[in-house]
Amino acid sequence: MTDLITPILAASLPLSMPILFASVGEVYAERAGILNLGIEGIMGLSAFVSLWVTYSTGSYLYGLLAAIVAAGLMGLLYSYASVRIGTNQLITGLLIYTLSLGIADFSYRRLTSVSFPLIQPLPPISIPGLSDLPVVGPVLFHQNVMVYASLAVAIVMGAVLYRTTWGLKIRAVGENPEASDAAGINVNMVRQLCVLFGAMMAGVGGASLTLGYLGLYNSGGLLVAGRGWIALVVVIFSRWSPYRAVAGSWVFGLGYSIAATSIGSGLVAGAAQGTEYFLLMIPYVFALAFVFVFHRGTKPPSSLTVPYKRK
């Protein structure tokens, strides 16, 4: 078991990366007052799109961009419904979830009738000198470019949210849309852009899952395996801060890593049939504990899930 600690820690960062991308994006959507329950599905869709495009063009960048476009289209649809039309956000978000996964799984079924897309995940980049350190080296300094990017994005988007006028406007819109409107902010435009950004980040998250870790797709539901929902839990846990989302995502990345690494190493091979499902439960049990322990005392943006209509 002890020889598994380094591999578990090393895999925890790539496994937290999709959650981190998605939760940073969702922080923006929720800060502006819109809850997007569709991101689990959007991650599945973009995971498929990125794999497909990368497989057919050979370019990871094209795969990533295509995933962002696909996710953005779902984001546009969701922002139109939830912000413009003002439908119930929980219901519409869940519909977007089902819709995205349906599109992804349909396309995958169509595609696999002619070929089986499989790619090599992005290779890790060793930071010279640092990557040779024991434990810390392989965990922190021998990761692929998207892992580093996820951490950078969280920090940059944290700074944008707290230190720029843009960030101030977004937070104002989520806390008090009437006052923001009176101050001349186009409330629904800010909301639409934030939802769009959130969806695109979920798209990057989904793409990072296939391009940066798995290199394959089976079905959206099995592939994303709750990471989108967990990103939403991370948003609450991190109290709507991109900085704290780094820590929150990492805890869940660790949960997924404990399951994946111990199953992959054959730790449960000798155990009774079905034992691996206990390991697979770990991230969800973490999430449930998080919801119950940390939900109390957290205060969401005041106008979260309340549509804004000019009087």
């Binding site: 439908t87 869940l94 979830y97 089902t98 349906g102 169509r110 499902y277």
Partner: protein
């Protein structure tokens, strides 16, 4: 149920727009839309068997939808119907296995009660946290779906797996616990009747009783309801108990009605589809009845389309189902906003 003319228009428009989009997608992917649509729409009516399958599929879907709907009326978002359905199914399986020696008239009602209790127990923790500690239920119920499914995965591949089967599933439950077949030669069983009755019972409770009035009041405006003497916690407790029981029953009608065993991943997402169905039925129990018939007819038609020579994957039919709900919701909201102006 009062259907406003604008609502009727929104259904017609929503379905028309979705079917047009669907045909367009079929064209893009090189399918011939006309025979495909014909199969989709006529599939559920093609034979007695297909027609009965529509109702067999409808039963768990309608019960799941009612489970979400009644909680929604009290402003309690139970997104964990899927997990409660699985645990209800597990409870039904265990109860059935134990009660094999009893006559049906005794065994089946006890199995139903066991399934309801199982479903409710899986909701108990989020319900308790909501009522006592004001913890939002959305994520707790959602996350518990995954835990429930992994528990079923574990049991059906390990401890209660049928050793004689290659599939991850249990042996058959004793035939005395099976829900009686209503239409001979098909799978149309008592579960369908139970589901339809449940819709009318929920209609009566929500719309014709004092409890239902209080639930709706507290769902619309908890603060105003409280000033009017409604105990919001009691309303939430009531909808929670009903919701969990209905979800558990949804699991039971699959186990004891349609499949007669507990299999891994037996639900194609009834819990999530139930939410879409509730929305399509305008959050009214009778509306949910019609919406669930439409939804399952589409699924049966979709399976017929998949069996065509140039088979259209069933996933596209799932996309069509959601598109219809989304389109109807959008048109409805859009029309009602226009009228208000």
């Amino acid at each position: 149920m009062q259907v406003l003319p604008g609502k009727r228009l929104s259904y017609a428009l929503g379905i028309f727009v979705s079917l047009s989009l669907f045909s367009f997608v079929l064209l893009i992917f090189g399918y011939d839309p006309i025979p495909s649509l014909e199969t989709l729409i006529m599939g559920p009516f093609g034979s007695v068997f297909n027609a009965s399958e529509t109702f067999v599929l409808m039963a768990p879907l309608l019960l799941s939808s009612l489970a979400f709907l009644v909680a929604f009326k009290g402003r309690f978002y139970n997104i964990g119907v899927e997990g409660q359905l699985y645990i209800g199914a597990l409870s039904a399986y265990i109860a059935s296995s134990v009660l094999g020696g009893f006559p049906s008239l005794i065994a089946v009602p006890i199995v139903a009660v066991a399934a309801s209790i199982g479903g409710t127990l899986w909701l108990a923790l989020p319900l308790f946290m909501r009522i006592k500690l004001q913890v939002n239920e959305v994520f707790a119920t959602l996350i518990m779906n995954f835990i429930a499914i992994d528990i079923i995965n574990w049991l059906t591949t390990g401890p209660i797996k049928d050793v004689n089967s290659v599939n991850p599933q249990t042996p058959f439950v004793p035939s005395t616990t099976w829900l009686a077949i209503v239409v001979p030669g098909t799978r149309f069983n008592l579960g369908v009747i139970i589901a339809i009755l449940a819709a009318f019972v929920m209609y009566l409770i929500i719309h014709k009783t004092v409890l239902g009035y209080e639930i709706r009041a507290s769902g619309l405006n908890p603060r105003a309801a409280q000033s009017g003497g409604v105990d919001n916690s009691r309303s939430i407790l009531a909808v929670g108990l009903m919701s969990g029981s209905l979800a558990g029953l949804a699991g039971m009608v699959v186990i004891n009605g349609a499949n007669h065993l507990l299999a891994q991943n037996f639900s194609p997402g009834y819990g999530y589809q139930g939410i879409a169905v509730a929305a399509l039925g305008d959050f009214h129990p009778v509306g949910a009845l019609f919406a669930s018939i439409l939804y399952s007819a589409l699924a049966v038609g979709g399976e017929s389309m998949q069996r065509l020579p140039n088979g259209i994957p069933i996933e596209l039919t799932y996309v069509l189902q959601v598109t219809i709900v989304l389109a109807v919701l959008l048109v409805q909201k859009w029309l009602s906003d226009r009228r208000r102006r």
